[in-house]
Symmetry: C2
């Protein structure tokens, strides 16, 4: 009890739904963190694109910031540190041990890849929920982290909080992933399974947009880019491959897919947008495309927003993990799980 508490300083880049949910989760787990790691944490910086930024070496008043309304919300008035004129300034001066990056999905991964590089170079651990920069710069970012003796973690990028990278890293030792496949995009799976029940493509899409589940630009979901980006991360992280999102053979879904879906139902089959990676001649091939599956295929039972990943391994044969109806809380949990991972094994 009298032991001295270890102090960890946290900074956030991005403070939208995910960043806020992560802050609420971390608040609720304060006692657990103290008991498990003898650790006390504070948030020394938050930077956003549209709501200013704030640094306070003594810790920002997170509960108060969370309570503040979102209208005309600005972080600037909480600032109590050195002057910052850019995100780069922020990263250098926020005084954090760990940077949580939760900015939005842009296909080229910029500018967040640049910020993550700067943070790693400055000796910060980096945890991200941002797929595109991880897929685009996987080797560079992981190498940089290794060189600086810090961790670069990205559990939230695939299947939200369902353990994927932590599953393989921590529970499947000395295991080779021979191939993998799954349903990785919630928006298209929702649309496909709604069309099975007679809904129109547009109505189903509007619903996921209203729920805040579709990407800001829904073509990223529908054209298969989101699934291809996730598949690229899986290939690079779990299979040692090099396929970038643009190397994934990619077919999306459209209004026309509705005919396929209804025809499949009549034959007692189901259409799913399946992401697959497999080894062929020393290379790893990635594919995202609608597949026509028998009704008892495990993928056919995945409906609505749920996701599944099936790993084919040399130790465990086939192992699947399923996430049912994810929400922003699950993404926040992935950030939390990564924080715990790096506290347990800081290198």
């Amino acid at each position: 009890m009298a032991e001295e508490l270890q102090q960890t300083n946290i900074a956030l880049l991005g403070f939208g739904h995910v960043g806020r949910a992560f802050m609420r989760l971390l608040q609720h787990r304060r006692t657990w963190m103290r008991r498990e790691f003898g650790l006390e944490w504070k948030v020394t910086g938050i930077a956003t694109l549209n709501h200013g930024m704030a640094i306070d070496p003594n810790g920002l008043p997170v509960p108060k910031i969370l309570r503040a309304g979102k209208r005309d919300f600005s972080l600037d008035r909480y600032h109590n540190g050195p002057a910052c004129y850019s995100t780069t300034d922020f990263i250098r001066q926020c005084g954090a041990d760990v940077l949580f990056e939760t900015t939005v999905f842009a296909l080229d991964g910029e500018p967040s890849a640049t910020y993550m590089r700067e943070a790693l170079r400055a000796g910060l651990h980096v945890v991200t929920a941002n797929k595109a920069p991880v897929a685009a710069h996987f080797r560079q970012l992981t190498r940089l982290a290794r060189q600086r003796g810090v961790r670069f973690l990205y559990e939230a990028t695939v299947m939200d909080g369902a353990p994927v990278f932590n599953l393989v890293r921590q529970t499947l030792p000395a295991t080779r992933i021979r191939s993998l496949h799954g349903i990785l995009n919630s928006t298209t799976n929702y649309i496909l399974t709604q069309m099975e029940q007679g809904a129109s493509f547009d109505a189903a899409l509007r619903y996921v947009q209203k729920q805040g589940i579709a990407e800001a630009d829904p073509s990223l979901d529908i054209d298969g880019w989101d699934a291809a980006t996730k598949l690229s991360i899986l290939i690079q992280s779990l299979m040692g491959g090099a396929a970038k999102p643009e190397d994934i053979q990619r077919t999306g879904i459209s209004e026309d897919t509705g005919k396929l879906v209804r025809a499949a139902v009549r034959r007692d089959r189901r259409i799913r947008l399946v992401a697959r990676a497999y080894r062929k001649g020393g290379k790893i091939i990635g594919k995202v495309e609608p597949e026509d599956l028998e009704i008892f295929d495990p993928l056919a039972s995945i409906r609505g927003l749920s996701n599944i990943l099936i790993l084919n391994t040399d130790t465990m044969r086939e192992l699947a993990i399923v996430e049912n109806n994810p929400s922003v809380e699950q993404t926040a949990f992935a950030l939390f799980a990564d924080l715990v991972t790096l506290l347990r094994r800081p290198q």
Copy 2:
């Protein structure tokens, strides 16, 4: 490279299919163990019920023992240590750091519970694939391990090598399991799904017996004891409950279940033997019984020997893990994963 290798001594209690598969796996992972942990291992003792026992402080010739035919197989001729007149002698004198216990399923968990207690008291880590003693003496064995500063691990007891306990312990930090349910017994699931396709109860049972999948006494599977024992371990280990196998409300399957199965198929539904645990008034209730499920229930898509466990949590909502067509190699992998767990966190 010049670093001194750590030495770990291993002993096996039981040397059947699982023990042998584990030895083969460990041999294949020798280089990996050296690289990952700077660790060299040897087997200093093997004890069996019907094939004698052997101790050798310099390490037994495992490849040779594995090659020896099973007919008239005896370990005694490899013995090169102090005289042993009992398993208790063996445990005290085998010189191991970790004991792997893989003896057969007996409902009361004896005598293996006694052996595991002796091993833990003697300061050995214990890894077991044996459900009954874990279910019957969970608190005592875990407490004993804690007192002696060693680990007591049992990943293999539920869903073979699919990470269940390692999943929760290592990838779901600060998470409360609200309830769980799943299909935990391969034999009954095989019989039920074969009966769906018109096979008879007896023919399906004979097949799993011939494959060596059914318990030696198949009534342990069919009457739901195997699933109840696994559910009891899940309740005690993951939910902090106290339900023993005999406290689980238990209904098995029989020849007569065939009628239910066929009637369900006609209504586009499926029968599965479902294990459930849920909280009610401060207690945790466990149930194993055939349930009539809609065809799109994730459990309905689990066919043949496959298993599924669905966790309902406060951080991740619903998360499922599925093991497809397990074999003895997967059980061996669970023992290996536990060895890695205890090497990473010896306390």
